[in-house]
């Protein structure tokens, strides 16, 4: 998450291509951008490609940055485009088109699992294996839901900022976010539900 206390940057220095200021800019934002790419793509090499292209593009286009959004939202926007482009390149056959997505959005996403796994202890909920499962669950989301969930719930952008980064209305962001969260809840219910079951059996 890029927190609100990130150092201020001189836009003037960035726009005039001052390398010292740009290096500071890179060091401030590369962590969150790399993590976002990693969660989005699930592959270190792909994430590194997105990271490099994001800052190359930022370098190239900073002069036209108009402050309609914050600098970090602007950067997330570039990174999101790069990540989605890479996914399309890697898997042209499985990528959802917009019409497919609308079909998917029309789908019934009512909850199917009603196991209460909340009482599992924290060290089981966040064990190394559980964390791997959490990451895998994100990878299984359709990418247009995945990117919304990552920006809003992992990177902590507001609904408005997520909309700015993805060219989506706030209503669209909210709809996709709800679907993503419910989808993840189903996936986690399968996984943690089983753990809850095992614990009960042991008692």
């Amino acid at each position: 998450m890029i927190n609100k206390t990130t150092p201020e940057f001189s836009l003037e220095a960035l726009k005039s291509g001052e390398p010292n200021e740009f290096a500071r800019f890179v060091d401030t934002f590369s962590g969150p951008i790399y993590r976002m790419a990693l969660k989005m793509l699930g592959d270190g090499q792909d994430a590194e490609d997105v990271l490099q292209n994001t800052f190359l593009n930022a370098f190239k286009h900073i002069h036209s940055f108009e402050e309609r959004s914050s600098l970090s939202t602007w950067l997330y926007r570039i990174a999101a485009n790069e990540a989605l482009m890479l996914i399309r390149k890697r898997h042209p056959e499985t990528t959802l088109t917009d019409t497919n997505l609308e079909d998917a959005e029309g789908e019934d996403y009512s909850p199917l699992q009603f196991v209460d796994w909340c009482c599992l202890p924290e060290d089981e909920l966040l064990s190394v294996e559980a964390r791997r499962h959490l990451d895998r669950a994100i990878q299984r989301l359709p990418e247009k839901l995945r990117i919304v969930f990552i920006l809003r719930d992992l990177e902590g952008l507001s609904i408005e900022e997520t909309g700015q980064a993805l060219d989506l209305s706030q209503t669209a962001v909210k709809t996709r976010l709800l679907r993503a969260r419910l989808n993840l809840r189903e996936q986690l219910s399968s996984y943690y539900g089983e753990l809850t079951h095992d614990r009960r059996d042991k008692k």
């Binding site: 998450m1 390398p19 010292n20 740009f22 290096a23 500071r24 890179v26 060091d27 590369s30 962590g31 969150p32 790399y34 993590r35 590194e48 990271l51 490099q52 800052f55 190359l56 370098f59 996403y109 009512s110 909850p111 009603f114 196991v115 209460d116 796994w117 909340c118 909920l125 966040l126 964390r131 959490l134 719930d153 992992l154 990177e155 902590g156 909210k174 976010l177 709800l178 969260r181 419910l182 993840l184 809840r185 986690l188 219910s189």
Partner: protein, 84 residues
């Protein structure tokens, strides 16, 4: 173990509810329903927990591995500023 029409009609409000941004009328309606419907109560609790767990996984500061940072600075022709 199926959901009623009322459960389904409240589904759209769940995100706003767990984010604390749901308007008051709907919030009251939802809370009243949850206190009487075990399924929805579990859905709300586990949904909240789902978001909490993902927050927990990103609570640590995001760092770029050293070798990745080095290659990044090279690709941007900023090698001279690697020491920072």
């Amino acid at each position: 173990m199926t959901q009623t029409a009322h459960c389904k009609s409240l589904l759209e409000s769940l995100s706003d509810y767990v984010d604390g941004t749901l308007n008051e009328d709907l919030c009251v309606e939802l809370q009243r329903h949850i206190s009487a419907c075990q399924n929805c109560s579990i859905v709300v609790d586990t949904l909240r927990k789902t978001i909490y767990l993902y927050h927990a996984t990103t609570a640590e500061p995001a760092n770029v591995p050293l070798d990745v940072r080095e290659r990044l600075f090279h690709s941007l022709k900023l090698e001279a500023y690697l020491q920072h």
